[in-house]
Amino acid sequence: MANETEEQDLKDHREPDHSRRNFLKNSGYAVGGLIVGGVVGSLLRSPNKSTTNNNNGNTTEKAPANEAVNFNQALMHFTQEQFLIMEAATERIFPADDNGPGAKELGVAYFIDHQLAGEWGLNGREYMQGPFFKGETTQGYQGRLKRREIFDIGLQEMQNYSNKKFQKKFKDLTPEQQDTVLKAFETDEVKLTTISASGFFKTIFGSTMEGAYADPLYGGNGNMGGWKLKNFPGNQMSYTKIIEQDKFEKMQPVSLREHLPHS
């Protein structure tokens, strides 16, 4: 189904936005001599390791020519069409702005794709046995559809609504038009029979936030850019030194990748 524009869109996606990364890199500073506490910490992080790790993810800074290809950025579940809707929608929910990157740059749509491919997409650890009844709102989701199916239906409905209202695919709408479509889902102005439009919007919203801020190991929060927005330091072993201090402490974030030795 991919047409030329879609292929171009996907290709664009593979080009990292160097200027944005450079703009964002190391706006904070590392805390010198942060004590690594406890047994686990000392086992896992040798001192020389942590020095190089401070640049983890910011490889452009050191050796742009050798930037690793991110093999994680491919699709496990979405079709290309679905992916492009998702990418455009999440970027409207969490847009790039003066504060820093938006959902697209952070890889949120890849995050959602990967999540749907696994247990979460299949409601693997949730009670999905019948009988199914329509319950009170206080009783929560009572449908028989799994998240994958809900996304398949929801994204198609977004496309249908866009085509009907603006005679264009969702990804080709102006940002304002995309917002109109999202708003129509959020408020249940779109009437759907199989799924709840507002329920679907809530799910997209929730997974956008997850993709922006979960550890980068899941494919989102690219370059820890989500964490840097909030000055969240990620996976630090100890805050004993700063817990009582009045001054706000900006640190270079650290991801879980540093908890494994990488040769």
Binding site: V40, N99, P131, T138, K230, Y239
Partner: protein
Amino acid sequence: MATKLPKTDVVIVGVGWGGGIIASELTKGGLSVVGLERGKERKTEDYYMVHDELRYALRYEMFQDLSRETITFRGNEKIKALPMRSYGSFLLGDGLGGSGVHWNGQTFRFLPYDFEIKSKTIERYGKSKIPDGMTIQDWGITYDKLEPYFNKFEKMTGISGDENPLGGKRSEKYPTPPMKTTPGMKMFSDSCKGLNYHPYHMPSANLSEQYTNPDGIARAACQYCGYCERFGCEYGAKADPVVTVIPVAKNTGKFELRTHSNVRRILHKGGKATGVLYIDTTTGEEYEQPADIVVMTSYVFNNTRLLLMSNIGKPYDPKTGTGVIGRNYAYQVLKGAGVGFFEDKEFNIFAGAGSLGMCIDDFNGDNFDHKDLKFIHGANISYSQTGARPIQNNTVPPGTPTWGKDYKAATVKYANRHINVGAQGSCMPFRHHFLDLDPTYKDEFGDPLMRITFDFEDQDRELVKFMGAKCGDILKQMGADKVVSNTELAPYEITTYQSTHNTGGVVMGSSPDTSAVNNYLQMWDTENLFVIGASAFAHNSGYNPTGTMGALSYRAAEGIHKYHKNPGSLV
């Protein structure tokens, strides 16, 4: 056909705090104990990758697999109960250590008022203070009688704290000094002092310093990493059964732990428990484990469910108010809260610990006059700094758009510029709040799910209105530029997280007509069966339950020893 195994002195069903304490106390006293745990083994080394908000906090890594077993819920008897298909309101523990692994470590003692709530309420305000349908009752024990067991639990876990100026009398100081004081905690404390309240450090099971407990178990100090609730502790600094009581039991050589062993029935004959029937979930094989004494130590829901499925004790009937199993289900009333936004101040709230905070009890229990109030009891009000993790930390002032550019900008701006003050409201039992077996929905073995019938009452709405305003006052005094208080309580719903403080169902008391167990948590009508947990609470206080649950576990352990030497009713 179930394979019959050799008999043991004691079999325990579920190895969390209750099971761990019973196992360690009984094996130290020379009894042979078999511990059956439906989940997997756990150890500190499991938590190398624990600083993962998505996996642990949002994908519920540590919790019961709901595809195998869940609960059903309805707000009242007129509507059909439906299964809790995904997590929301509370999180059910699973695996060795149970909920004792993923807790925050906030370890309070219930107030003297709690244990004699009915008598004391009538004494001070008269009978008419208790509204129609509210089934509060005395617990069949006093605070003073329970005090030594609180002490025991606090020493075993190494609780860090300073004395609650408005709490019950203590025989000893907390074993370790309070946790560190953050700027936000200091502001809360100063504000409360300015309002003539009595702030103190939240008693904490996250150790303030290295500590060796009376069993010889040494644990390291908390590193304030900000990953407690919903996570396991990679340092062993947070007290949990796996790093405290379970190794003590194992060291005696008298404790045999069997994981992946899901108990489906308590076996009994002629008014005595004879053992349990369980399934090895790795093979599907069924076993019968005979024992002289059976101790039920699973969570509230499974304690109640197993009794009902095993036909032990009289099931509670809400129509007549008679029967005891499933009676007095209660929860926690949490919506009385406030948030303060600070334009020019950023706090290091990404750092924290599960029980790092300051609190007051000026509006808890009967520490304040309720004469002109339309509720009884109250709430512990606190500021706690548990670690603001980024996916869930999106507090913004009202009026902010719910997504998009402005939403993003506000979440980024206020990520470290807000302080939450909350009231942990007590929850009174009512005649029409109860647990029973669901008639429709089944677990993976075809056994009925537990059904919860529960909603908030006027009592709870009045409490929230009062507490929300108090939280707002404190925040204003703390100097917040904008304070937003919540004083409204909507009907109870199962989809948003509130608290994993479910209580009741197998409550304690002084009469078999209104309680299932006596003050040793011994079943009235099956004397070699003990049922331990917050299931014994006749109501829920304005505190986290674990401290009181731990104290009751130590008392039960003493009772079991007594019973083993001299069988019969302990009261």
